[in-house]
């Protein structure tokens, strides 16, 4: 290692370092795709039913809700926060929005989605406000909100539930619509994720989320309106959970007061498996969505292979721990590599 290319100017040094960082993170996402491919190939070779059109559609539709939630969660986690309340928000929104159909005959579906969005945004607002203005760790705020919102859900729902027969057909058909075999919902969500990725990559306020998560103090000193950005991240996460609730209602039809319990852990697992650092400051929305797809594919593969669904939770937990440990390893290695390069150039 005596020659390091022609560009040994300070600028070239920075570019080189950035290229290495970029490469590592692209490799991280590529790694998920490879694991996904191996998983699909291996499972399909044992049990060909796995690649049946209906099963693939099922996995894709299942993933859409998680990919959406992962998008919101990514924005929050990037700022070195966490939103544990999304499962409860989803449950509350699912019940209230589906209940609208029973109370207002012929209500436009768009309006129901808007209602879900509003409910979610309201919850996100509370999370953001308490975290930013109250200066309380988001973990504590959203853990408390997880139980408060679920409790409100229980009080609202009581012992009752919404059943599929009370929902209009056009609503229940939403997750079933396909274009050339691909669920429309999956296409729409892929579009939304792409938009989110574009926003985080290319917009100033999107980049600022990374800056806040990398070093909150430095971000503040650099003049980034940290409070407002973090607040917005919680607002978006809540709003997305609200919309996901409406989709949940359309997909399952039957909603009681336990809808969406435990989703927060699966979504955090997906986000972290997808390469978003739990310490904030790095990761991508596409990675998080791929993480959600991988998690759902693994669960589906286990099901097809006849592994008891009782293993699901333990596997999700183990994957989460493995992903956190892996990221820690990568970041240590990367820091060492960058340091080595710097000292080499400096000599």
């Amino acid at each position: 290692m005596t020659t390091v290319g022609a560009t040994t100017t300070p600028l070239g040094d920075v570019t080189n370092a950035r290229r290495l960082v970029d490469l590592v993170f692209r490799a991280r996402e590529f790694g998920i795709v490879v694991v996904l491919a191996i998983l699909v190939f291996a499972t399909a070779s044992i049990e060909s039913r796995f690649l049946d059109l209906s099963n693939v559609q099922f996995i894709l539709v299942d993933t859409t809700i998680f990919a959406l939630l992962a998008l919101g969660q990514t924005m929050v986690v990037l700022t070195r926060n966490v939103d544990l309340s999304i499962g409860s928000v989803l449950g509350l929104s699912a019940f209230l929005s589906a209940d609208l159909f029973g109370h207002h005959q012929g209500i436009p579906i768009a309006l129901v989605f808007l209602a879900g969005l509003g409910i979610g945004a309201g919850c996100g607002l509370a999370n953001g406000f308490l975290t930013v203005v109250g200066r309380v760790p988001s973990l504590v705020v959203t853990l408390a909100m997880l139980y408060i919102i679920r409790g409100i859900d229980v009080l609202v729902v009581g012992g009752g539930q919404v059943v599929a027969s009370s929902l209009p057909n056009s609503f229940i058909e939403i997750p079933k619509k396909t274009v050339v075999g691909i669920p429309v919902l999956a296409i729409v969500v892929a579009g939304v994720v792409a938009l989110g990725a574009y926003y985080l990559r290319s917009f100033r306020s999107g980049r600022e989320l990374y800056a806040i998560g990398s070093n909150p103090d430095a971000a503040r000193l650099a003049g980034i309106p940290s409070g407002r950005r973090v607040f917005t991240a919680f607002l978006v996460s809540g709003a997305i959970a609200g919309i996901a609730g409406v989709l949940y209602a359309a997909k399952y039809g039957t909603i009681d007061s336990t809808a969406g319990s435990g989703y927060e852990l699966q979504v955090i697992a997906a986000v972290v498996v997808g390469g978003v650092a739990i310490f904030g400051g790095s990761g991508s929305v596409v990675g998080a969505a791929l993480g959600a797809l991988l998690l759902n594919t693994i669960l589906s593969a286990l099901y097809v292979l006849g592994v008891s669904p009782f293993w699901n939770q333990a596997i999700a937990g183990a994957l989460l721990l493995g992903a956190i440990a892996l990221d820690r390893g990568i970041s240590l290695w990367l820091a060492a590599a960058l340091r080595k390069r710097r000292t080499h150039l400096g000599a």
Binding site: V136, L146, R150, G151, L265, I278, Q313, G317, R328
Partner: protein, 342 residues
């Protein structure tokens, strides 16, 4: 500064005493049954395991860590008690094994935090899922409920010579609270936990074995939660995979309500004990007023929010005052206000 801190701590505990008085007044007001030995015993039962698990949690939060997997360790232990016993193991052997498994579960948390260097929040969210997942694997949809009466009686009969007021679980809690209290406040090992929580780096330079201590604390947390799981199983005489699900919220709530700072470095066992009494009393009083039990999360969650918002609020006001005062002394600003470490 130090004296001010002590004063604010005293205020917090005095506040808790008033809160406790208010809760008792509310309880007596809402039902004449509130002070009967039967009701107090019921209250004991409903809080016992939470109270026990709050003790190691207090020490962990004082050192600046957190263990969100406590309820899952309880659930996993409960499932194991059921499974091993139904396989024909003798009960003492089952109890011993489960305590060892709890120790391993806690050690694993501590290993990932101290040796691999991962944040305890992320680690224990992961093991919350993992340990609960193991409980699900161990028991599946099964329910084990044929435990010998000699053991289940521990869960449903009062301690002898206490007038029928105290349960075994609260008896164990009282003993453990004294042990943890003496350790935390009266030994150098316990005092060093505050140093770790206030400034980990300084603690390391002062020669405190930070990682080693935290590893031990996580392991102790695992053992204590396994013990809580065993008691929980005996109390309900049932082992199912979702035993104690969501209890981590109550545990974290009572600890923070007890005046322990979520940022570490501050807190007392007395405060936590008082908070447990307030929490249990409120829950019980609400139960007597026919409050929807499954919606208790609203109350618990609100208490948790209040207990972190109130001390922050006074700090916020203090910061503001300090800022105004300094501005008054030096008209042109001078140095910027020192940021509080978070």
């Amino acid at each position: 500064m130090a004296r001010e801190r002590v004063r604010s701590l005293v205020r917090w505990e005095v506040g808790l005493v008033f809160a406790l008085a208010a809760v008792i007044a509310f309880g007596v007001h809402s039902s004449p049954q509130f002070t009967t030995s039967f009701n107090v015993f019921y209250l004991n039962l409903s809080i016992g395991e939470i109270a026990i698990m709050a003790l190691p949690m207090t020490l962990l939060i004082v050192t600046g860590e957190i263990d969100l997997s406590v309820a899952s360790v309880l659930g996993m232990s409960s499932a194991l008690v059921g499974d091993l016993y139904s396989r024909g193991w003798s009960m003492p052997l089952v109890i011993g094994t489960v305590l060892v498994v709890g120790a391993v579960a806690g050690w694993f948390n501590g290993f990932l935090v101290t040796r691999v260097g991962l944040p305890s929040l992320a680690v224990t969210i992961g093991t919350l899922t993992l340990y609960r997942g193991i409980a699900v694997i161990v028991l599946g949809p099964d329910t084990v409920s044929s435990f010998p009466e000699k053991y289940t009686n521990l869960g449903v009969t009062p301690l002898p010579h206490t007038g029928g007021y105290l349960s075994y679980s609260v008896g164990i809690f009282i003993v453990l609270a004294i042990v943890f209290g003496v350790f935390l406040h009266a030994t150098s090992g316990g005092r060093s936990l505050f140093v770790m929580g206030a400034n980990e780096e300084a603690a390391r330079y002062a020669g405190i074995r930070v990682k080693r201590t935290k590893l031990v604390l996580f392991t102790v947390s695992g053992i204590v939660c396994a013990l809580a799981g065993i008691l929980y199983t005996f109390r309900l005489s049932t082992a199912v995979q979702d035993n104690g699900i969501g209890l981590e919220l109550s545990v974290v709530t009572v600890v923070l309500l007890g005046g322990v700072s979520i940022f570490g470095g501050r807190g007392t066992i007395i405060g936590v004990v008082l908070a447990i009494a307030v929490f249990a009393g409120l829950q019980n009083a609400l139960f007597l007023t026919d409050f929807e039990q499954r919606a208790m999360g609203v109350v618990t969650g609100t208490l948790l929010l209040l207990s972190v918002l109130i001390p922050n609020f006074s700090a916020f006001v203090a910061r503001g005052r300090e800022f105004v005062r300094r501005r008054g002394l030096r008209a042109d600003g001078g140095e910027p206000a020192v940021q509080e470490a978070s």
